[in-house]
């Protein structure tokens, strides 16, 4: 029986049917009809303090669960403020649906108050976007948006909703099916190709699994583990893939790339077969592309055909969902498992080589009894959270140290802005993750720069009593930029000293959030324990050594095996 209702009400009906429980948003003039529905509807709306953070919170929600995150903003400045969060979700393949208000259809194009061409602006920031011109199209569009956001290679979808469409009355009946004839998603990998992949794996002497965010998206972590164990292949995980193999798994080498370990990068350089799973050969992973994995044949599995051959030609492309492809591959590998012994001697030599690299230059955290080393901070967070916490990070040095030293044991426990590298991500993402997983410990590790981009959200945390632990890795600098100025611009430091950082204890008090500043290494463990034991939110300002740099480092444009392992050592003159 069709019901007569407003467009705004239809929107909420459709959201509920899509399983949405929580929306991160910020109201405004043209979204008033939607907020009037929220007024007495049990769907949860979380008021953030800036629209960008609504998008990041939706992203945190989606990254922590795999479900679609939803954010909502008004027209004009509301929608333009979402843009960074949309691009972030696009780069990291995160399923979010963004709802934006728009001026009435009759006013579109007239430079009306708070009008912006959201549909045009967000075209390149989204997987797909819509401008709803007629209320009768609204329900199908909402379901299409969720379908597009969550299937294939996930990504952000935006729906621009003019005010008159939200106000218009229409007959609503649930839309039972949608038709997107041009939306092609290939999930089942080509069987013949997968069979060839199995053969290439048995034929290889120095195989290396190179896995990333696609494993997390498709939930293929169990299959990944089975693969590396069956083949006994070493594995590296990208920044986006950390946790999809437990960090203490013997086959896990570490993260490769610009700040990857020596062993991971040497393995990449010397492998004769790369089994690339849900990765995109990002420049931060490959270093100089022409020198990347020069001896390797490449099996490239990805759900997005655009990724295959984009940066590195694949010797064996397989388009499909990582989980399904791996299941088929595992079946074929099991059937041919007798072949495993054929290259056993070479494989053992390969492992010996990798173990030697690991011993030669292990990733060792720096410690000091005079100052808190940021690596020490990460090691302590790792030890105290035991791989159980959802860790979010901002962007910069602290993000790299966290990636190097926190041992992630399962997927969806490490949330950071990988592709876009958006500062100000960590705290709103933690808000989203905490709403998604209310019983989980959520720790936001941020730098002093990114923290200052997110301070307004302390109000969101305080007003919702979210038990998020914010740890500021505070070196008083925009550390990664400072590191580059030091190493590549003759230490001519410009615009990187973050003077005027607020007193966090007073700031916390202003928001009613307990807070503490720690400066000495012997205080660190106790302070972290206090923070983690706090039932509510906690703000911990950890003053770390200001001039610590992230190593190893592959300078931009260098090959992976040309990494710099540590700061230049002072030359000792024998007496």
């Amino acid at each position: 029986m069709p019901n007569l209702m407003s467009g705004a009400r239809m929107l909420v009906e459709c959201l509920v049917r899509e399983g949405v429980e929580c929306i991160f948003g910020y109201p405004g003039g043209v979204t008033l009809p939607v907020y009037d529905v929220f007024y007495d509807h049990p769907i949860r709306h979380v008021l953030v303090r800036h629209e960008e953070n609504a998008a990041f919170a939706a992203s945190g929600y989606a990254r922590a669960t795999g479900r679609v995150g939803v954010c909502c903003a008004t027209s004009g400045p509301g929608s333009t403020n979402l843009v960074t969060g949309l691009v972030d979700a696009l780069m990291d393949s995160v399923p979010i649906v963004a709802l934006t208000g728009q001026v009435s259809t009759k006013a579109i194009g007239s430079d009306a108050f708070q009008e912006a061409d959201t549909f045009g602006i967000t075209r390149s920031c989204t997987k797909h976007n819509y401008l709803v011109k007629n209320v009768k199209d609204l329900p199908a569009i909402v379901h299409e948006a969720f379908y597009i956001a969550s299937t294939g290679r996930p990504g952000p979808v935006l729906i621009d909703l003019p005010k008159d469409v939200l106000q218009a009355q229409g007959h609503y009946s649930p839309v039972s099916s949608i038709h997107l004839p041009g939306y092609k998603v290939v999930t089942e990998g080509h069987t013949g190709q997968i069979r060839r992949a199995a053969q290439m794996i048995w034929d290889s002497e120095r195989p290396l699994v190179y896995a990333g965010g696609g494993i997390v998206s498709s939930g293929a972590h169990e299959e990944l583990r089975e693969l590396v164990e069956l083949v006994d292949a070493p594995a590296v995980l990208t920044l986006m893939g950390l946790g999809s193999l437990p960090a203490d798994h013997p086959n896990f080498i570490s993260m490769p790339g610009m700040h990857g370990s020596y062993a991971a990068n040497m393995s990449m350089t010397h492998a004769d077969l790369l089994i690339a799973l849900g990765v995109r050969f990002d420049d931060r992973v490959t270093g100089r592309l022409s020198a990347f994995a020069p001896h390797a044949k490449v099996i490239h599995v990805d759900i997005d055909p655009v990724e295959i051959g984009k940066n590195r030609a694949a010797d064996l492309p397989i388009v499909g969902d990582a989980k399904r492809v791996l299941r088929k591959l595992l079946k074929m590998l099991h059937e041919t498992v007798s072949e495993r012994e054929r290259k056993a001697a070479a494989r053992q030599a390969w492992w010996r080589q990798i173990r030697a690299w690991q011993q030669e230059h292990p990733l060792v955290p720096a410690f000091s009894d005079r100052e808190i080393k940021p690596q020490h901070l990460m090691v302590e967070i790792d030890r105290l959270t035991k791989g159980e916490a959802i860790i979010t990070a901002d962007v910069g040095q602290h993000q790299m140290w966290a990636a190097q030293f926190i041992r992630f044991r399962r997927p969806r426990h490490w949330l950071c802005s990988g592709g876009l590298g958006a500062m100000g991500f960590g705290i709103p993402a933690a808000i989203g993750a905490q709403f998604a997983c209310p019983d989980k410990l959520v720790v936001a590790i941020v730098g002093d720069g990114g923290f200052q981009m997110s301070i307004p959200e302390l109000a969101t945390i305080a007003s919702n009593r979210l038990p998020i632990k914010i740890v500021i890795c505070n070196n008083g600098y925009l550390g990664m930029v400072r590191q580059w100025q030091e190493l590549f611009y003759n230490n001519r430091l410009c615009a990187v000293a973050m003077e005027g950082f607020p007193n966090v204890e007073k700031l916390g008090a202003a928001y009613g959030i307990p807070a503490r500043i720690v400066e000495r290494p012997d205080q660190l463990t106790g302070a972290l324990e206090t923070a983690l034991a706090e039932p509510g939110p906690y703000l911990l300002d950890v003053r770390v050594s200001p001039e610590e740099n992230v190593y190893p480092m592959v300078p931009a444009g260098a090959a992976l095996n040309e990494m710099v392992l540590g700061p230049p050592q002072p030359v000792s003159v024998p007496k």
Partner: protein
Amino acid sequence: MLQVISLLVENKPGALMRITGVLSARGYNIESLTVARTLDPTLSRMTIVVDVDPALRRQVIKQMNRLINVLQASDLTEERAVAREMVLLRVRAPLESRTAILKEAEIFSARVVDSSVEGFVLEASGDPEKLDEFIDVMRAYGEIEVTRSGIVAVSLESRRLRLSPPVPTRAGSEPADSRLLDVPSS
């Protein structure tokens, strides 16, 4: 190198913008672009000619195929295909050269679509290179004004159109929290 791309596209607002966006994001300049409805009025056929680094041709096609409004994108550059273009050309024709112009037009199978004391408007269609020659010849008769349609192209090989079938929505399924459904409107 010029790439000829043929696209079958849903006739929806923004579809053209998405397609040209794939090209403009890489800084490619479009040489020509034609769009018109197909027999099915919900669909459009586009032919785009664009100067693309040969190594990236496949990538461009894949990026276009990724667009939700694109039903099919194909590269006709090295396929067996026919490409045609139309030109409308205004040429000043004083009395002494009118006969010669008409003779030249006939050689190129061009038609006179307007004739006045000042001159002719000629319509020619065919192979784009042939039209280049036609324009060159006409230039010899003095001032001309030219409007070209851009290339329309068709593959000589029929290719199967693979479309995705309709999919059920979650509208019929129970939401995680049923309290959220059937809330009376205020």
